[in-house]
Structure formats: structure tokens, C-alpha cells
Symmetry: C2
Subunit: 379 residues, 2 copies
């Protein structure tokens, strides 16, 4: 793709900025300067990080921060050189005076760099639009993330199956089985597998009706339990993201109809995902399925019920990235994009259900990047 835009400039750490991780290819936990000069990638690193970053060989040039700070200090004798002065110094040396920066570039640095005469252009959309298109290696990394998600789902299923029913309780090892217990089973299995699962959701009953409630306290038999696992692969930084809804015991007819409808909506949505189709068309498919089955979405005094989130989102080095599959997504899906497909229905009293997989967009049926069965009623 021809790019007339100027080279990128970043100042961020790789833990919080997926753009920085994408550009740098090496983890650094404090904010640092990185930029392009033509096709070359440069960074400034302190003595603390210099050797490690150099060894990673992901940058064409690693410059010692302390030297460039000293040069900037010499040019600005009246004030201590900050990040902006250092960037101005080094970019002047490389004769680059024009950069593109991300929407979320730090405002104070943006203003100071403009004062110093640099020409900064805010990227029109993502800083690296190519991040949306996943290479074969990236698709493999996302598959690996979902292999870890599946390990977590298996751990959750085993914990639920292994629990003993005692009236309205689920017991494990003589104690009440809790969301925390199941989360620990999931997260330690994923840790062993080489991933990190943060904010894992194991939410039963009405708790699951707040889709981002992580879940707490005893799990009950005969209740829908939403298990949403989005681990990061430590080695690559890529995410997996899968959800299944389980029930230990015997489901009611209403619960069965709910789960069947969500799965039907997911299948319908998956059939729609294809290069050239707009994200909102996929979302509409879910809305239509729910409407046809009579499930209504509405606001109540204590929050919204029904289908209260988007159908999916892009996935990669960030857990939520472009594109979105929701009512406002008027952009056509591109070949190679990886997206989650995760319809859900939430009704306090009845419970919540969400089923989520990840696919890669092709010209025909999407390629599944996640794999776990859909049995959910655990007798």
C-alpha cells in the first residue's frame, strides 16, 4: 500500500500501548521514544534497557538515551531537557521534522514538540492501519491465545463437573465452590500454558447480566454461568478471547431456549462474516435473530436487559481493536481481519448467556481461530 504519510513517532511503554509493542517487537515497561526514518526503526533507550533492546534486534538503531539527553541539555541550557527536547534533538540529527502520531499521543508532549518546530500530524484513524490485517504468523498467535482460552474453559468445565450438588449449593473439597475458585483454576492452567488471563469472568445467575462483572462468591446449581476468558500469550503479546456459558445441574426450558437462541444468533452472524460486508450487517443478523425469537432489548431502572453489547470486535495485540461489529460499524470488513463473534442475552431472574469465538475474515466463510465444544448443560 502506498503511504504518503510521514513516519510514526511514539512515546509509550509496550505494556499499555499495543501500537508501541507492534512497532517495537520487544517489551519495555517504561515509556520510551521510538520513531521511523524512512523504512528504518529507531529508538532511544536508557542504560537500563539498552543492552536488552539491542539484543532483541527488532530496531535498526538503538541510541543511548543519556547521550542524547546531554546533547539536548547543551542546546537548552536554561531548562532541563525533557522528552520533547530529546526528540527534537535526535529527529533534527536525522533530518526528520514531520511525524504522524496516534490519537492518544500525550497532549503535553504534542504541544511542546510543536513549539519546538516539529510538524506532527494526528493519524486519521489507527496509527498502523495494517495492524487490522493479520498475517499468517499473527493468525497463528491468535490461535495460540485461543488454545489458552480453551485450556481455561476446560479447567472451568472440569471444576463445575467435579463439584458436588447439595441442595442449592455446589460443593468442592468440603467448601462452597465460588467464582474465585473457578477463576483460579482457569488462570493457573493458562499461566502454566504460557499465557496471562486478566479479569477472567466467571459470573453466575444475575451477576452475569452485567457483562463485564467478573463474578464473585458461591456458584449455584441450575444457574447459567458465563465464562469469558481473554488471555494474552506471554511470548507474543497476542490475545485469545472465547466465551462459553455453562450450567451445572438441570436447565429450565426458558434457559434452554435462551442458550439455543444465542447459539443460533452466533451461527447466523458467522455465516454473514465475509470480506466486503459491513460490521453493522453482521450485528443486524444477531438483532434479527433475537427479534424473530421474541427477545427484546430495553432499558430498565437498574440497567439494560436483552442484547446490550456489540456483536464483536477486532482482536490482536489489543483485546479490543478495529474493526467493530456493532450498529454503527459502516466499514466493510477486510480480508485477513480477526474478529470475535459474541452475541449474548441478559435478563435478571433468568440469567445471562454469551457464546464467543474468533474468526479470520476471508472472501468466503470465515476461518475459525478458536475451538471448543458447545455442550453447556453439565448434569
Amino acid at each position: 500500500m502506498a503511504r504518503s504519510s510521514p513516519p510514526p513517532l511514539l512515546f509509550a511503554d509496550t505494556g499499555t500501548s499495543s501500537d508501541q509493542l507492534y512497532f517495537s517487537g520487544v517489551e519495555v515497561h517504561d515509556p520510551f521514544i521510538a520513531f521511523g526514518v524512512g523504512k528504518r526503526r529507531l529508538t532511544l533507550q536508557s542504560a537500563l534497557e539498552f543492552g536488552r533492546v539491542k539484543k532483541a534486534r527488532t530496531f535498526d538503531t538503538v541510541l543511548p538515551l543519556e547521550d542524547w539527553r546531554a546533547r539536548a541539555d547543551a542546546r537548552h541550557p536554561r531548562r532541563k531537557a525533557g522528552v520533547a527536547e530529546i526528540i527534537a534533538e535526535v529527529s533534527g540529527h536525522y533530518r526528520v521534522r514531520r511525524f504522524r502520531v496516534a490519537d492518544d499521543f500525550p497532549a503535553a508532549l504534542f504541544i511542546r514538540l510543536r513549539e519546538l518546530g516539529l510538524r506532527l500530524e494526528l493519524a486519521d484513524g489507527p496509527l498502523f492501519p495494517e495492524r487490522e490485517i493479520k498475517s499468517a504468523d499473527e493468525a497463528k498467535a491468535i490461535r495460540e491465545g485461543n488454545r489458552l482460552s480453551a485450556i481455561g474453559l476446560a479447567a472451568a468445565e472440569a471444576a463445575l463437573r467435579g463439584a458436588r450438588r447439595q441442595g442449592n449449593r455446589l460443593m468442592s473439597g468440603g467448601r462452597l465452590l465460588t467464582s474465585e475458585d473457578v477463576k483460579f483454576a482457569i488462570e493457573s492452567a493458562i499461566l502454566r500454558g504460557g499465557g496471562l488471563s486478566l479479569s477472567t469472568i466467571v459470573a453466575g445467575g444475575d451477576q452475569a447480566c452485567d457483562p463485564h462483572e467478573r463474578g464473585t462468591g458461591p456458584l449455584r446449581p441450575n444457574e447459567l454461568i458465563v465464562v469469558d476468558i481473554f488471555p494474552r500469550v506471554v511470548a507474543t503479546g497476542y490475545f485469545g478471547d472465547m466465551t462459553r456459558t455453562f450450567l451445572r445441574g438441570r436447565a429450565s426450558d426458558a434457559q434452554r431456549r435462551l442458550v439455543a437462541t444465542v447459539r443460533e444468533a452466533q451461527r447466523a452472524a458467522l455465516k454473514t462474516v465475509r470480506a466486503g460486508v459491513e460490521g453493522r450487517a453482521v450485528h443486524q443478523q444477531v438483532l434479527d435473530t433475537f427479534a424473530a425469537a421474541g427477545y427484546k432489548t430495553r432499558r430498565t431502572k437498574s440497567g439494560s436487559v436483552g442484547f446490550i453489547h456489540g456483536t464483536g470486535h477486532g482482536l490482536g495485540l489489543a483485546i479490543h481493536e478495529a474493526p467493530r461489529l456493532n450498529s454503527t460499524a459502516a466499514v466493510a470488513l477486510k480480508l485477513g481481519t480477526a474478529v470475535t463473534v459474541e452475541p449474548g442475552l441478559y435478563y435478571p431472574g433468568l440469567g445471562g448467556c454469551r457464546i464467543e469465538d474468533v474468526v479470520q475474515v476471508t472472501a468466503r466463510a470465515p476461518k475459525m481461530l478458536s475451538n471448543y465444544h458447545y455442550e453447556w448443560e453439565l448434569r
Copy 2:
């Protein structure tokens, strides 16, 4: 403290922004709007987060994002209302036109809000300077973080003690004991304890000479092994941060002198930490101790050796926050501040050693917020 500055405005998620977590007191994983009106705290939340955030009761007012988006859309019929238009709409309603924002406020949003007539002032320093002073509850949360660090150190020590020496190898369960094995032992113990340990360092031999190298592959007997553990307490978001350096086998005289000198430097630094003392004075104490013992810091072709990082940093909802203890820290330490004290020496061939604890600044000797023994030679 009297504050003449305007109320804060934030647009960030709580996973990447510790300011947002501090202000909000509830985890939300996608960026959201939060701001002050006088002493009240307001936020806008989508249907997906609304109920959960409302239940947390940390905000005085939780507004439905969708309603305010619709109002902003109505006012700007020619363009889809973005975050800026929504902020302008809601702040207009509350008659607040002036906000202070952090240095790292997103540049694009900053510019658009100014175009919309809001007066934004970049905070002079941290957005919430009061974050540096830790309350009793915050000190307790950091202690809890360090209780988790100590659990991790104990797991590492047990793994090293439990290994069998076989010539130049450490064996465990019939396999070579690796950095990865020890990290898993640490991280799973911390997970069980209610914490998350990311980027745990278990680095032996020359690997430890890059202080941020996490460590990989087989660990060897008679080598210095740096174990640096900085877990986050899941329930509160506060961090612990402790380092010990172990050696399984028998240390050389040079290794013993290295470790003893680092510990001596830590003691000397700890004696200096007191309200009113500048961070650089604490750092100087370490430099003096190393100089007196003849340990030199210098740059080599493959990186720097000696004492190649600062003596410490503030700790709280962020792993690195104000203040710093380094050569440029010309600000007096404040009562109640929590800082790490972590001198280290690194010489490829000999190995690396770092010893790190956390203290709270008082008017006299600092209060220890971390606790683990200093035995390191594991026979």
C-alpha cells in the same frame, strides 16, 4: 490542601491509567469519560458497564452514555458525535467549561475539545499530586502487595533449594530447572494469594546484568540469580515490589563481596530516607557506598556495567510513580510517600545483584512495607 485548579477530566480505561483507577475506584476495561464538578465525581458509561459501575457506588453520578451521545448527535447534525462532542454536551449541562487534564491526555481529544470551546489546562506535574502521599489504607494495600511478593520469593527459594545439583546443572523432577519453572512457581503462588505478577524476573548469571531481562532457560548452580517480583493486588490495584538475589550452591569470594556491598548500600540508603531529604541524596548514599568499595560504573561496547539504574521509585496504583530516587531527583521526600530502595551491581562474568524493599517515608526512620529475609547462599 487548597486547590485553585479546575476539576479533572479523564478519558482512559483503568487498566492502563492509574489516574483513572484512582479517580474511579472501579475497574472498567475500555476508555470512558470521568470528570469532577466541584467535589462531585461524574462518569458516562455505556449500557455494558452502567449497572456494574453504578453498583460500585464510587461515583456520585453515573450517566447513560447512549443518551448523551444522542443529545450530542442532535447538536452536531453534520457529523457523528465523538467523545469530544459528548464531553462538551455534558460539561455544558453541568456548566463546567474548564478542566485540568494530565500530561498524557489524548492529543486528538485535547485539540478537538479546545475547538469546541472548552478550556483545558495541562496539570503542572501529576494530575492528582495527592496520589504520592499514601493513606493508612493505601500503605496497607502496598504491604499486601509485598506480602504477595514475599510469597513469590518463598516459592522461588523453595524451588532453588529443592533442585538437585548435578555438576553444572540444577535438576528438578528429572529435568533441568529453568527460569520459566521458577517464574511459574512464583506466579501461581501469587495468583492463589489474590495477586497478579506480570513480567516476573528470574534471571541467572549474565542474564541478570540486563536488569529488565526477565530470564530464560536453565538456571545454574553457583550463579547469582536475581528474583524481582512486583505483583498487583487484584482487589485494590496496588503493587508490591521486592527483589532478592539468590545463589544455589557455593558463592565465590567475589560474589560474596558483591552481595554484601549491595546490602550495605541498601542499609545506607534506608538510613537516609526521611521526609525533607531529596531523592538524589538517597541515591548519592548508594553511589558513595559503591565508590568506597571500589565498584565502578562505566559504559562498555555491549552496554553499561556497575550501578546502572536509579536507587528507587514511588509505588502505588502504578509500579513506577512519583517520586524517584535518582541523580536528578531534586525534590524533598514527603511524609507518607512510599518508595522502593533497590541498589544493584551488574558485571557480566561475575553476575548481577539487586536487593529491593519498600518503605514509607516518615519524619524519622522509614516504615518498612516489605518483609523477607536476606539469606541468599542456598547450600
